[in-house]
Symmetry: C3
Subunit: 215 residues, 3 copies
């Protein structure tokens, strides 16, 4: 993997660490609970990715930088919420920070998952797309299950979908003459679709919400 891959992996790690730490704040956890949630969210998805690739030990457990960065993020979030900026950071602003961090993590980890899949198994497009999605949603599922929340991937209407589309975009670009732009293209697609879905509250059809089909 190259420097750009590590850059996306680090953006995703930081973003998901923020989202995990913020769930800890919302649950009134102590700093250690916050750190556990931040770690589970930030390195959980990457561990699942590496296990499914058969790459052992997983990258985020080999390299001290991941845990260090996540703990630093936790301390920063903790300090902000214990400082005189606390009131400023709470409420809707906290919710917006959480959603943005989560969307950034989703976009970055779609890219690291899909491109790691392509590196090792370029002949398996379905695996590449699915690995991007599983990596992207994996950490958040672990976070939400630890915190006993309904996982975002089930609750929010357009959550895994942007990641799947991003994985497809990645594969189409990386196998075309646009291959050097594939990671940027996929990242942008996931982030934009997810943020638009949040902003406009996009939703999908539900059982019982639509009228029964008339005769």
């Amino acid at each position: 993997m190259d420097i750009i891959w590590y850059m996306f992996d680090m953006i995703g790690t930081i973003a998901f660490a923020v989202s995990g730490a913020l769930v800890g704040v919302a649950r009134k956890m102590d700093i250690f609970g916050m750190a556990v949630l931040a770690l589970a969210t930030a390195i959980g998805g990457g561990i699942v990715r590496d296990v499914l690739l058969g790459y052992f030990p997983p990258n985020s457990l080999r390299n001290v930088v991941y845990v260090t960065v996540v703990l630093a993020v936790t301390v920063i979030v903790f300090l902000i919420y214990n400082s005189r900026y606390r009131k400023h950071a709470m409420g809707p602003r906290s919710r917006a920070s959480y959603l943005l961090a989560d969307a950034l993590g989703l976009a970055s980890f779609t890219v690291t998952g899909a491109s790691a899949g392509f590196k090792l198994y370029p002949e398996l497009p379905i695996f590449i797309v699915l690995l991007g999605t599983i990596t992207a949603v994996g950490g958040g599922i672990i976070r939400d299950m630890l915190a006993q929340r309904i996982p975002s991937v089930l609750k929010e209407d357009v959550y895994a979908l942007p990641s799947i589309i991003g994985g497809i975009v990645y594969y189409l670009m990386v196998t075309s003459s646009w291959d050097s732009m594939a990671v940027y293209g996929a990242f942008t697609v996931v982030l934009v679709i997810r943020l638009l879905a949040i902003k406009y509250n996009w939703s999908l059809p539900k059982v019982g919400k639509t009228k029964p089909v008339a005769k």
Copy 2:
């Protein structure tokens, strides 16, 4: 693996996809939530199986047919519950469909898990039986934890037990002169025991339910 193995893997995938989608209906999820639950249930157990075998990438992520079939099942369940047959499909009938699909999945995945274990590690009978059980109950545990339900394997009295018995039957048959019938024998044993347990509401002793042992 041969054609018969794939047949059982496909029966289990379809059956667990139905059970996952029906939990989504019961939880009033949208079609995407239903698809996520159906996927997690249907391919979750197989992914756990392949990880424990050290087989990467897992079979259900290599082959586009699994995801396609699960999504088709989700759409069909969605359409039935949004059609004029909706009332017909709801209530006890829905519960019965769920239990039957879950039992079919349990029986099929016991067979795929145990036989995949036997193929790679014929010298480890305990692994063969446990892999059958873990494969069979794994997807359902993931489904129930995502949907925040108490897992069937903990709540229902005779759930993992039929799978364990089926794994033992498989091993005894496959190492005997009945080896070509082992998959059918194990499948039938799991399905029949599980369905009888549902019908007659079999249960096991509970702490505090039995009288204290007299002196």
Copy 3:
């Protein structure tokens, strides 16, 4: 792995089996539910350890002794809670047994995780420490999530911390002239810190509990 490693692995397995079975008792589960919780707790952490090491099939699934021991523990716990000693065993004594068993499991599995990491990847200190912690807390997380409880690792203030410190102690000792004592040193450190934390109810700072920093 040598005989001492297996000794710690067995202590941890028995201790976590007790803790899992006791959660089953508290939840009024039948003996099979108790066995499932005991198995998930006792062999779950070791399975996660072996998967992260890339060691397949996982040790506890290869060797019939693990499942046998866990089932024997379950039956013993079940019999105690159905005997005339039941009243004696309930209440605060039950809670104390649970906490002691959980602490013993935490200490033993920190040792088996860290030393297995050192055996295969001596050049990765961070992996060694993290693998000790993940092995130690993994089974308990699975237990608590199956039983729909908030995981101890999030709820209890000093839970993963003793394991992390134990992993660091292990690594420092095993790379020093005290290497033959490393497993005992790490085990003692985890157990003592965890028991002191329980006894004196140690806690870490929480968001909103401390006063905002004055201007």
